[in-house]
Every structure is written in structure tokens, then in C-alpha cells.
């Protein structure tokens, strides 16, 4: 049920084929063009890596703060011993983002969600971010209730989170009791783990054995519960953002490294080719001269 951890390092193997194809037939001009384009690509990936690394540090700082808030709310749920009621319907909220080029971040989320939906084919789904949306809608368009986009280019603000949370909780047409947040947990600078956060409805919190010791009035509980959901969602968004930026940095670092390898091979091939051309020309001249 729980996530397989995905390591965000993956090398770009297909690049080798390119060289294989051109080994025999490529003219010098072709190699030169390819060299130029790969050099440009590596410049782009190198600068994307720089951008991602500055964003990672900021995102990690924000994540530390959001984690504290998140831990407070999960501690409450733990201390009150809130249990999921039998047969409770869950709404799955997938916390992804709009931007790609960050290795398996989004596909790991959608794989996790698809696995859940295989067990519970009726579960409604709300998706934050275009990437996971396009992956999930292909198979589970019927389950979709909401999709959000244009988020995740910067560190999500609580204002934005509560706007999303308000849309979800104020819609009475979707039937659900619990909310399951699927997000990427930031494990380290090179690894993330797709995890879930459970959010409970007020009715299940009231029934929890440890809840009585808190002496909370029912009206306030509803407020608290709305806040807990937004708090968890914010935590998921901020941590997911940090994981995405870290994955993007590793992905771009690998891309730059691979581009460097290809450039090296192509330069070698280009120089060899040029030498062969020169040698051939020399042979032609010499044979031509000796024939006279």
C-alpha cells in the first residue's frame, strides 16, 4: 500500500544510439551540427540546474517550517487516536505540479494513485498540477472531480493552499468522508518518497477514544478540522515542491553530465574524421604527383 521509494537518479541512455547511427556515414558537417546543438542543450540544462539549486535551498527552508505545522496536526490525530471508520469513502487529492523535467516525480505520484484506484475504482480524485492530471485522466477520467493548475512555480503560500482547500471542502456535490493526500516526501537531496497523509472528518474525530481529553466544542471542532485539512495540504504542497526542485536539480545535473559525454565523443569523432579527410587528400595528391 505504501509508496515505493523512487531514486531520482537516472542516466540518459538513448543518447548512445545517436553516435551508433552516425559512426559510418556521418559527414563532418553533420557531426558539426550535432555538436553545436548538444552544446546548446547542455548550456540550457546547466542553467536550469543552477536555477533549481537556488530554489531547492529556499524550498527546503519553507519545508522545514511547514513540517512543524504538519507534525502538530498529525500529532493531534495520533494522540486522539482517530481511526478511519469502516467503509468510509475517500477523496484522493494528488499533490503534483505543472512543470516537468524533474525525473519521476509526477509519474511516481500517478502510479501511486493508479494503484489505489485499482483497489477502489469508485474513489473521487482531485488533482493539483497539470502533469499528474494528464497522466491520470487517461485511465480515470470518470473519477476526476477537480483539477487545479498554475501552482508550484514558486513556494506555495498558505493563501493559495486555503483557496484550494476551500474549493474542495465547500463542494457538497462530491461524496466523501475522508481525504487522502498523495504527495512526494522529501527524503534527501537526491531521493523522494511518495507518501500519503490522511485527513479525517469531524464525525470520526468526535468518536476517537482520546478526543474527550481535549474538551473541544463541536462548532470549534469544525473550524479546527477545516484548518487541519488546509494545514496538511499546505505541508504536502510545500514538501512536494521541495522534492520536485531537488529532483529537478539532479535530473538537470545528469543531463548536463551526459551532454558533456556526448560532446566529448563527438569531438573525438569529428577530429578523427577530419584527419582521415586530410590523409585521404594527401594520398590523392601524392599518388597523383607520382603518376606524372
Amino acid at each position: 500500500m505504501f509508496a515505493r521509494s523512487a531514486i531520482a537518479t537516472r542516466s540518459a541512455a538513448p543518447a548512445l544510439n545517436v553516435i551508433g547511427q552516425t559512426r559510418n556515414m556521418a559527414t563532418l558537417k553533420e557531426i558539426q551540427n550535432r555538436l553545436k546543438s548538444i552544446t546548446n542543450i547542455s548550456k540550457i540544462t546547466a542553467s536550469m540546474k543552477m536555477i533549481a539549486s537556488t530554489k531547492v535551498t529556499r524550498a527546503q527552508r519553507a519545508m522545514k517550517i511547514a513540517r512543524i505545522y504538519g507534525n502538530v496536526s498529525s500529532d493531534f490525530i495520533e494522540q486522539a487516536e482517530v481511526k478511519k471508520a469502516d467503509g468510509a469513502k475517500e477523496l484522493v487529492v494528488v499533490v503534483s505540479s505543472d512543470k516537468g523535467l524533474c525525473s519521476g516525480i509526477h509519474s511516481s505520484l500517478s502510479r501511486h494513485t493508479r494503484k489505489y484506484l485499482a483497489d477502489y475504482p469508485e474513489a473521487p480524485v482531485a488533482i493539483i498540477g497539470d502533469k499528474a492530471k494528464s497522466q491520470i485522466q487517461r485511465l480515470f477520467a470518470q473519477n476526476m472531480t477537480y483539477s487545479f493548475n498554475q501552482i508550484g512555480s514558486t513556494i506555495p503560500a498558505f493563501d493559495e493552499t486555503s483557496a484550494i482547500a476551500s474549493v474542495i471542502i465547500s463542494d457538497k456535490s462530491i461524496e466523501f468522508d475522508n481525504i487522502k493526500l498523495v504527495y512526494n516526501k522529501f527524503a534527501s537531496a537526491i531521493a523522494f518518497e511518495t507518501t500519503e497523509i490522511e485527513c479525517f472528518p469531524a464525525s470520526q474525530i468526535v468518536e476517537a477514544p482520546g478526543f474527550k481529553s481535549y474538551e473541544v466544542q463541536e462548532e470549534i471542532l469544525e473550524n479546527l478540522n477545516e484548518f487541519l485539512f488546509a494545514n496538511n495540504l499546505h505541508w504536502a504542497l510545500v514538501e512536494g515542491h521541495a522534492a520536485e526542485m531537488a529532483a529537478k536539480r539532479t535530473a538537470m545535473e545528469n543531463a548536463t553530465k551526459n551532454a558533456g559525454d556526448i560532446i566529448q565523443r563527438l569531438t573525438l569523432q569529428y577530429n578523427r574524421g577530419r584527419q582521415t579527410v586530410i590523409t585521404n587528400e594527401l594520398i590523392e595528391i601524392i599518388t597523383g604527383a607520382s603518376a606524372l
Binding site: 472531480t145 501552482i151 498558505f158 493563501d159 493559495e160 471542502i169 466544542q217 462548532e219
Partner: protein, 70 residues
């Protein structure tokens, strides 16, 4: 105990955001710059029905707020 704002149809999140915005408006000028970075919501959403999505629209509560403030 019923909260007046809940009878008016807003939830706790919206209520606390209104309170937070009121607070943000009165902070000292040297902190305003830091706050300004976090403002401006661009999120759009689309409601899905029976496997089809409607066009993406701005979140209504945010739109009303923007209208009131400008």
C-alpha cells in the same frame, strides 16, 4: 455557539484569511516587501463531471476579493 461568519456562508479558512489580510495591511513598511512577494494568486481550477472537464476558471472567492480590493 454559532459563528456569525459561518451563517454568512464562509468557512473557517476564508475567515482566517480575511483576518490575516487585515493584519498584513497594517504591518510596518520594512516588512511589507517580504509580504508582497507572497501575494497574488494565479491558481485556476476546473470542475470535472462524468469524465469531462469544464474550462479552467479562477477561484471565485479569490476573484471577488480581487474585485473588492481594486
Amino acid at each position: 455557539m454559532t459563528f456569525a461568519w459561518r451563517t454568512a456562508g464562509i468557512n473557517y479558512l476564508q475567515y482566517s484569511n480575511i483576518a490575516a489580510r487585515a493584519l498584513r495591511r497594517v504591518v510596518k513598511t520594512d516588512l511589507q516587501a517580504e509580504i508582497a512577494k507572497r501575494q497574488g494568486i494565479t491558481i485556476k481550477f476546473a470542475k470535472w463531471d462524468n469524465g469531462k472537464s469544464s474550462a479552467s476558471v479562477n477561484i471565485p472567492a479569490i476573484e471577488t476579493r480581487a474585485k473588492v480590493e481594486n
